[in-house]
């Protein structure tokens, strides 16, 4: 199992549980989650909606504190948002009153970083993602895929080691989604980032990650883990789009499909 290997884990969850309190009672969102992610690994977490996938990311990001267990990043307990962690939300949430460049440096601005350097880095990233001529445009002038690339630049501008992706493509049309999955996976691999992707899209999970963790229904627990490897592509990891055409893809897809116990209600 990758992640349990020699190197100490980048992100580790030890028996983590989370309960929400409301006047009607307690809701157990997550229970007994143990998981470790190695440096540079790309892990996908899948599960049905409402199983606490996004909550899990909020715990790792330090926005929420677990009611049980511990979340560790680089062996240190997470007590609040950390600069080591970047978080991409389900939508781009660009601020419509800021230009593209101003949006991309938002994180650096909040963290009180050197703004001249931050602007330089953001310009570099945006240019690399093909947005060089849109730096002073407003978000509404950009397409959905371009906006999500700005969101990626905003996340990477603060140079996190770990990138959390919360269904980052769910708001995009299917073609843009697949193209952007290729781009983002490539960027994250090349920069050596540790990535944790949450999705309900099995194909996305299999094609992008090296390991898929399946969460059960509420309260979410780790049901199974599947290592994803494409022997047919040789030693290298294929890009998501190529992975979808690899002979192994369907086997993984079907195995995960069964695990998710997908029932279409009608």
């Amino acid at each position: 199992m990758p992640g349990a290997g020699g190197a100490s884990p980048k992100v580790e969850l030890r028996d983590v549980g989370l309960r929400y309190f409301g006047l009607e009672g307690e809701t157990e969102a997550l229970k007994g989650i143990s998981l470790s992610v190695a440096p540079g690994e790309f892990v996908a977490i899948i599960g049905q909606s409402g199983c606490g996938k996004s909550t899990l990311l909020s715990l790792i990001a330090g926005i929420l504190q677990p009611t049980e267990g511990q979340v560790l990043v680089d062996g240190q307990a997470v007590t609040g948002p950390s600069r080591k962690i970047g978080y991409m939300l389900q939508q781009d949430y660009l601020f419509e009153w800021r230009t593209i460049l101003e949006n991309a440096v938002l994180g650096a601005e909040i963290q009180g970083a050197d703004m001249r350097k931050a602007r330089e880095r953001a310009t570099q990233l945006l240019t690399r993602y093909g947005l060089g001529q849109f730096l002073n445009h407003l978000p509404r002038q950009l397409s959905g895929g371009m906006r999500q690339r700005v969101a990626l630049a905003r996340t990477l501008c603060t140079e996190p080691d770990v990138v959390l992706l919360d269904e980052p493509f769910s708001a995009l049309d299917s073609q843009t989604r697949i193209a952007l999955a290729d781009e983002i996976t490539d960027i994250l691999r090349r920069e050596g980032k540790t990535a944790i992707l949450v999705t309900h899209d099995i194909g996305e999970a299999v094609s992008m990650s090296e390991r898929v963790v399946v969460l059960s229904r509420r309260p979410g627990r780790v049901k199974t883990e599947h290592a994803i490897a494409f022997a047919s592509a040789g030693g290298t990891r294929p890009a998501p789009f190529a992975a979808r055409n690899a002979p192994e893809f369907n086997g993984y897809f079907n195995a995960l499909w069964k695990e998710l116990e997908v029932h279409v209600e009608g």
């Binding site: 600069r83 970047g86 009153w97 800021r98």
Partner: protein
């Protein structure tokens, strides 16, 4: 095909559509102007035909001469410009105070949600209260000048607080979550997300406020002023000089139109960035 079209300039049908569009806009403008003219003509003619009592309405034709006559200050009466200025200053003061205090109070309510929960029913009732009931009391408490500012503020403050606070509440919580992922403090969330995200609400509040502050000033002046358009209206009606009343009201209409225009320009300038 389309290239050839472009080379030949806009198509005949497009030009026809443009002409119709322009004609449509002109019709609206003419209708607006026509309505005003009809109103003024009726106002001039009906009293002259003794169909309504001219003592009650005066005539629009007397407004300009009255205005010219009142330009000069007499020992008993200040110039009409001084009256107008006094009302405008009080309105701007009341309206600025309402905006500044309104944003500050709304921010405090956002900062301490418990405070909002405690104050919520009081704010709603205070907003629903007829504030003009306090005109005589304000006069006793605050004196002649301050009571006018006070009334202007009282009328516009509560609705401003409620509007701006609900604007704050309407900010997408995910934008706040986004700021939190970068470790934003509460103060940073307020200054980088809540306030800039609420600019459209602030402008909406500005629009409501401009009118309400003017109402507050005029009502306050009815009671306590010796200067101001509200005072002129009160004074003119007491001595049955309707031409003074109508002139003051006409100036009020012009002042509110100018305020509306100023806010409209501000809105266009700000919204260009969105």
């Amino acid at each position: 095909m389309s290239k050839a079209d472009a080379a030949n300039g806009p198509s005949a049908r497009y030009l026809e559509w443009l002409r119709q569009e322009r004609r449509g806009r002109l019709t609206v403008r003419l209708a607006q102007l026509g309505l005003l003219v009809v109103f003024l003509v009726l106002w001039e003619v009906l009293p002259r035909l003794n169909l309504i009592n001219p003592l009650f309405t005066s005539y629009p034709s007397t407004i300009w001469p009255t205005f010219l006559e009142m330009l000069h200050a007499t020992p008993q009466q200040a110039s009409i410009l001084a009256h107008t200025w006094s009302t405008v200053v009080a309105t701007v003061v009341g309206f600025t105070a309402a905006m500044v205090l309104g944003v500050a109070i709304a921010a405090a309510l956002w900062w301490w949600p418990k405070l909002y929960k405690v104050l919520d029913p009081y704010l709603v009732v205070a907003n629903a209260m007829p504030k003009t009931a306090f005109v005589p009391i304000f006069y006793i408490w605050l004196g002649a000048t301050l009571s006018i500012y006070g009334m202007s503020l009282a009328i516009s403050l509560f609705i401003t607080v409620l509007m701006i606070y609900s604007g704050f509440q309407g900010i997408d919580p995910n934008k706040i979550k986004l700021a939190q992922t970068f470790g934003a403090t509460k103060g940073q969330i307020l200054t980088k997300v809540i306030l800039p995200g609420s600019v459209p609400t602030l402008i909406a509040a500005l629009k409501v406020n401009a009118g309400l502050s003017l109402v507050g000033v005029i009502v306050g002046e009815f009671q306590s002023a010796t200067l101001g358009l509200g005072y002129l209206i009160q004074y003119g009606s007491q001595i049955f000089k309707m031409n003074i009343v109508m002139t003051a009201i006409t100036i009020l209409a012009i002042v509110s139109s100018l305020m509306y225009l100023a806010i409209y320009w501000l809105e266009t300038a700000v919204m260009k960035r969105r």
